[in-house]
């Protein structure tokens, strides 16, 4: 599309991911994307073991060869701080971001400084993007009776008409208030397939851009909240996925821009 991997980096990825997969016992390793910092870029991959949705392990690297586990536990407090950080990633995992805020404590205006390390911010941003941007087509994954999320072997890909509708895509993230919505009212609702939040309910309307490219064989969904997040779905083939190439900053101006 626009940004992609230089040829040298691509080959390095292939080489190093094979050993990563074996070392960690992953069933599959996915290339998640690249977060561009001002000095250096982070390459991120995710590995899955049994359940495709839960327990995804994230690894990051600065040079596509050495991969470090992202072991930061993302707590709510950390997420709060991460939401407030502005500016690009630096490219140095040990860098500390400082945020100074005016807070009223006990009736007095006090400056509250919070710090967050770049590695923690990276973990938070990856989780935010996964929550809001990871997409999968309807029918690609199914919920097995044991409660695991598995690839649907019977998924043959979608037709063009289905694939160009936003309603055929889901957020690939553990859903929160799924059954309160009108999902059950849909005629062809299938509990095994419709267990994720659909993209149609995203606010604001129009925050996803669906386009057909490549002489109509490929449908891309671009997220406008996270510029650089692209989901793709190849027509009539069970090939789909999403990837993020961007600066790791949410597009806060979206309501003005639509």
């Amino acid at each position: 599309n626009a940004e992609y991997m230089g040829t040298e980096q691509k080959t390095a990825l292939q080489v190093s991911l094979a050993s990563v997969k074996q070392k960690n016992g992953f069933r599959k390793v996915y290339f998640w994307g690249k977060i561009m910092g001002s000095n250096n870029d982070y390459f991120v991959v995710q590995g899955v073991t049994d359940d495709y949705l839960k327990n995804r392990k994230t690894l990051y690297s600065l040079n596509c060869m050495e991969w470090n586990n992202l072991t930061v536990e993302v707590t709510e407090k950390l997420m709060e701080v991460a939401h407030k950080v502005r500016g690009r990633f630096k490219g140095d995992p040990a860098h500390e971001f400082e945020i100074v805020e005016q807070v009223t404590k006990d009736g007095e205006e006090v400056e509250d400084t919070m710090t967050i390390k770049e590695e923690e911010r990276l973990a938070c941003v990856i989780q935010m993007i996964d929550c809001e941007g990871a997409v999968s087509p309807r029918g690609a994954f199914k919920l097995t009776p044991e409660g695991n999320v598995m690839l649907n072997n019977n998924f043959q890909g979608q037709e063009m008409t289905d694939a160009s509708k936003l309603s055929s895509y889901f957020h690939f993230y553990p859903p929160e208030n799924l059954f309160e919505s009108a999902l059950l009212a849909k005629a062809n609702h299938d509990k095994a397939l419709d267990f994720l939040t659909p993209l149609e309910q995203d606010i604001p309307r129009g925050s996803w851009s669906v386009q057909q490219e490549h002489s109509n064989n490929l449908v891309t969904l671009r997220s406008l909240w996270w510029p650089g997040l692209v989901g793709y779905n190849i027509i009539n083939q069970p090939k789909f996925g999403y990837v993020y190439f961007g600066t790791g900053e949410k597009n806060q101006d979206l309501p003005f821009m639509l």
Binding site: N1, N153, Q252
Partner: protein
């Protein structure tokens, strides 16, 4: 001879009963389980998929479903083919050669073509990690070739790709041959002049009417004079731009940009939709539709991010000195340029790259225009103007001159404005130098030896760390200050009126008494 009926084994009997039960047709659909199971097992044995146990239910469902969908299939296929085939037909034209006339002439390979070697450039960009994929590049290249053949152009460049919510834009930067462009432009200008004349006439009539009536107070507000746009081939209109939504679709020429559009575009941030005639709904209102907004953004990005290695372009020293106040705006290629080593090009000091497009002043032009000029149309009101306080002469706006190195660029937040990178850290001898802009994310440039190129692939927005907030509405105009001369006096209340009347009555009676007394005294 009678064939004796064989003794039926009890197990066989059970088997026959079971089979009969399984072959019972279902009352709903008319199919029976026996056939269904046999077809499922046949499929499994034929295809041998993995993990059959897990997907058995799905296979069963599929077989059932496949019996019903045969009617619908034909309709769906037709719809699909039309969109795909339509696009393929459009793009097929790209690969077709010229008309019959041109086919007679043998292609002259030595002739200079204004077409760039896009494949070579895209190879370099690929090393840097940006760009479009190969097939897309070929299509764009063919589309550019079509553009060159249909218009008489001196120079063509692939400017970049802009994303829109519904469709994308591919932009080509074009320079007409001298004299060619004027033909198109004259028509446009004639139309504009005609429109201007009609509006002037209307204004003239209104002016006369107003002079006659002197009752109504005339507002003293004069709208600030519209900054005129620069001529073609100068300033932001130095190059012309063509866009198309997909390679193969016809190229549309973007209109020239006016300073008002540039200043407006600087204050808003909107996504492009992909349709050139879409309105741009924003505050402050943007004068124009999406094609104007697109052109304004293209002009800003070109002015901010088109860079070249130091020394590639130089000022032509034979040209006479320009007038004071106007910077030089022309340059020529330096034929002696030898290229700088890659290490120097990726130096974080950024001194080996220069801008070769003029900076756009806050006014929206490249050459400053003094708005306090006295126009010929204002003869009637000259007297009034002198009476009013003359605003101070605005200071001329100055921008960095042409060919300024990047080291003079302002920082973005607390980041350098450009990030230099080498395409490969492992083989530095053959690596190319790449520059990524941090102010306009998506603008990239590369250089290697004597070759260099700029491209923009992105959404067309500037980067800012803080959120965008639209400008505040203008301050409310103040009312005329309230003072005693215009304050209404309050009407007297009924009690006051009564008191006044009573007082008057008393006064009159007193006066009458006095008169009576005087009369009486006179009479005496």
């Amino acid at each position: 001879m009678d064939t004796p009926t064989p003794k039926i084994n009890p197990k066989e009997e059970q088997y026959i009963n079971a089979k009969a039960y399984l072959s019972e047709a279902s009352t709903d659909s008319g199919y029976n389980l026996y056939d269904h199971l046999s077809s499922c097992l046949t499929k499994i044995l034929d295809e041998r998929p993995e993990n059959v146990y897990d997907i058995f239910e799905d296979i069963s469902k599929d077989r059932k479903r496949s019996k019903f969908t045969s009617n619908v299939d034909t309709v769906q296929d037709k719809i699909d083919q039309s969109t795909e085939v339509a696009l393929a037909i459009v793009q097929r034209k790209l690969f077709a050669r010229g008309d019959g006339d041109e086919a007679d002439q043998e292609p002259d390979e030595d002739a200079e073509t204004p077409l760039p070697n896009l494949m070579e450039l895209s190879f370099f960009f690929e090393q840097a990690g940006i760009g479009l994929n190969r097939e897309e590049v070929i299509r764009v290249w063919m589309a550019l070739k079509n553009l060159v053949e249909s218009h008489n152009l001196q120079h063509v460049r692939f400017w970049g790709k802009l994303f829109g919510t519904e469709q994308n834009y591919y932009v080509a930067e074009v320079e007409y041959r001298e004299g060619e462009e004027d033909a198109d432009e004259e028509e446009e200008e004639a139309e504009e002049q005609h429109e201007e004349e009609t509006t002037e006439k209307d204004d003239g009539e209104e002016g006369e009417e107003e002079a006659e009536e002197d009752d109504t107070p005339k507002p003293e507000f004069k709208p600030p004079p519209v900054v005129p746009r620069e001529e073609n081939r100068t300033g932001p209109n130095k190059k012309t731009y063509f866009v198309c939504n997909d390679p193969g679709k016809p190229w549309t020429k973007l209109p020239a940009v006016t300073p008002a559009q540039i200043t407006s575009a600087r204050q808003i941030k909107k996504f492009l939709t992909g349709r050139l005639d879409a309105p741009v709904v924003s505050y402050p209102p943007f004068p124009g539709n999406e094609s104007n907004y697109l052109r304004a953004q293209v002009a800003r990005i070109s002015a901010g991010t088109h860079i070249s290695p130091l020394g590639f372009y130089q000022f032509d020293e034979e040209e006479e000195e320009e007038e004071e106040g106007e910077g030089r705006d022309n340059f020529v290629e330096n034929l002696d340029f030898e290229g700088l080593p890659t290490k120097e090009m990726t130096d974080p000091i950024l001194s080996s790259w220069v801008h070769h497009v003029q900076h756009i002043l806050p006014q929206g032009r490249c050459a400053w225009w003094n708005p306090v000029q006295k126009n010929e149309d204002d003869f009637e009101e000259e007297d009034e103007e002198e009476e009013r306080e003359e605003p101070d002469e605005p200071e001329p706006e100055v921008g960095p001159p042409l060919l300024t190195p990047l080291s003079e660029d302002a920082e973005v937040g607390n980041m350098p404005p450009w990030t230099p990178k080498m395409s490969s850290n492992l083989i530095p001898q053959f690596a190319i130098a790449c520059m990524h802009s941090n102010l306009w994310p998506g603008a990239h440039a590369f250089a290697q030896g004597k070759k260099f190129e700029n491209v923009y692939i992105g959404t067309g927005h500037k980067y800012s760390q803080d959120n965008y907030s639209p400008p505040a509405p203008p301050a409310i105009q103040e009312e005329f200050p309230s003072g005693p001369e215009i304050t209404e006096t309050e009407d007297p209340t009924p009690e006051e009126e009564a008191a006044l009347r009573a007082a008057k009555q008393d006064a009159m009676e007193a006066a009458e008494e006095m008169e009576d007394e005087e009369e009486q005294s006179d009479e005496d």
